[in-house]
Symmetry: C2
Subunit: 262 residues, 2 copies
């Protein structure tokens, strides 16, 4: 049995961050798939690992670690293998700046769209409303109950969605500008910021074709394809089971124009 067990959903968003970091480091781990649409994350077996019922979580021997960005820094510091943080303090600051920006500002906006158009409808289709309401009532964190109810019943307000759309627009422009300055997002070497960013952005040419495509955002497209071609990324995305992760195939196209990927 591997020393590391990772409890994760798809190679996507927060779950994909430690998955891809482990693959890049070449650290063996036991993969424990948590089916979010079956509410595996709120079942007693998993709550015994992480009582807040959020994913991902990782065990390293008897240590339990949560919070995907902090787990990635832990992995890089605790294990040999290619360094995913450069040595210089300025580069490290820039990486952490981008990770904070993505985690706190950009990811929640992407997530709102993902929940509204994928997670919510799929959960209703899988369970029906009554069973779903019962499942939501068992979620430990009140704010996650609110998020699930909003997604399931389509309760995101117009103003909320408009603000999220604005943030996504601003964020994509910032990413494009930054990736015009250097090969990777926040330093001259492949880093945790790139892993974080790929998990957030790999499907952008599909989900935001009017904002991210080869004409408007050539730097982002170059960067996404470069990460997609890495062996670790290939290996990681093989662990996906739903149409969510399968969207990564869009990056096999040499040219993606506005709306062409939809």
């Amino acid at each position: 049995m591997a020393e590391i067990t990772l409890y994760h959903w798809e190679p996507n968003a927060n779950s994909g961050k430690p998955m891809l970091a482990l693959m890049e480091k070449g650290v063996p781990f036991t993969s424990h798939y948590i089916d979010m649409l079956q509410f595996d994350q709120h079942k007693p077996e998993y709550l015994a690992i992480n009582r807040q019922g959020t994913i991902p979580a990782m065990t390293h021997g008897d240590r339990v670690l949560v919070e995907s960005t902090a787990i990635m820094e832990y992995l890089d510091e605790a294990f040999a293998g290619p360094a995913l943080m450069p040595a210089g303090a300025r580069d490290r600051w820039r990486i952490r700046w981008w990770m904070k920006f993505m985690d706190q500002w950009l990811a929640p906006s992407f997530s709102m769209f993902g929940w509204k158009f994928f997670v919510g409808p799929n959960a209703i289709a899988a369970h029906g409303k009554d069973a779903l309401e019962a499942a939501i009532g068992r979620i430990p964190l009140p704010e996650r109950q609110v998020a699930w109810r909003k997604a399931v019943y389509g309760l995101f307000g117009e103003e909320e969605m408009a603000e999220s759309a604005r943030r996504i627009d601003v964020g994509i422009r910032m990413l494009e500008a930054e990736l015009g300055k250097r090969e990777w997002l926040a330093s001259d070497q492949y880093s945790l910021a790139d892993i974080n960013g790929f998990n957030l952005a790999y499907a952008m040419p599909l989900s935001q074709p009017h904002l991210a495509n080869d004409d408007l955002t050539p730097n982002i497209m170059r960067w996404l394809r470069a990460i997609y071609r890495r062996p670790a990324t290939r290996e990681c995305w093989k662990l996906g089971r739903t149409p969510m992760a399968a969207r990564v195939d869009i990056l096999e196209q040499d040219y993606i124009g506005q709306g062409a990927g939809a």
Copy 2:
């Protein structure tokens, strides 16, 4: 002239984090006080440093750094002086977990109360509504405009305030439990998590006397007083100019009961 210039408001919340880290490291710096209630942070001189108009910001030579937690990690990595992060990966993860929890979950709730009861009313008293509205219109980040309007016109909803109160209650219980496990918050040595936490929590016995006092939260009180007694903390809080920072005096009391500090 010092190599480092810090643009900060009071030793409080985000501004106080790099201030106190610099003092602990013994790194000399030029202090540039940004008077938030005079909207110094939105004036052209400061926007030339940080175009988003948020504080704090730090320059190190020609580098401009923002985001208080990332700046603290930068300071610890770029300068000699006492290490503010321990060597072990597990401790480092725990520190980052707490900093994320405080920055993303707890601080916004504290901040909502601070804005409603201190920043908003003081800004109206200082400027009058018309001048204030004009100043708000010049704020670069739309979400900061929203926050200012809410604070100034008392627009935080009952539900929002109740959710913030709930988060503060939960957060204080978590802090108390954690500080029952060891001397400092997230590792056996004084670290960035303690600096982060002190800036968030030093005035809790005054602002939340029903939740944080010597009877209910003896571990938190022991911890706050221990940080308050450090020479760097004394030196740092001397830079405060308003009643906000002066609240730290509460920690000179040997016993603080429920309501006694109010």
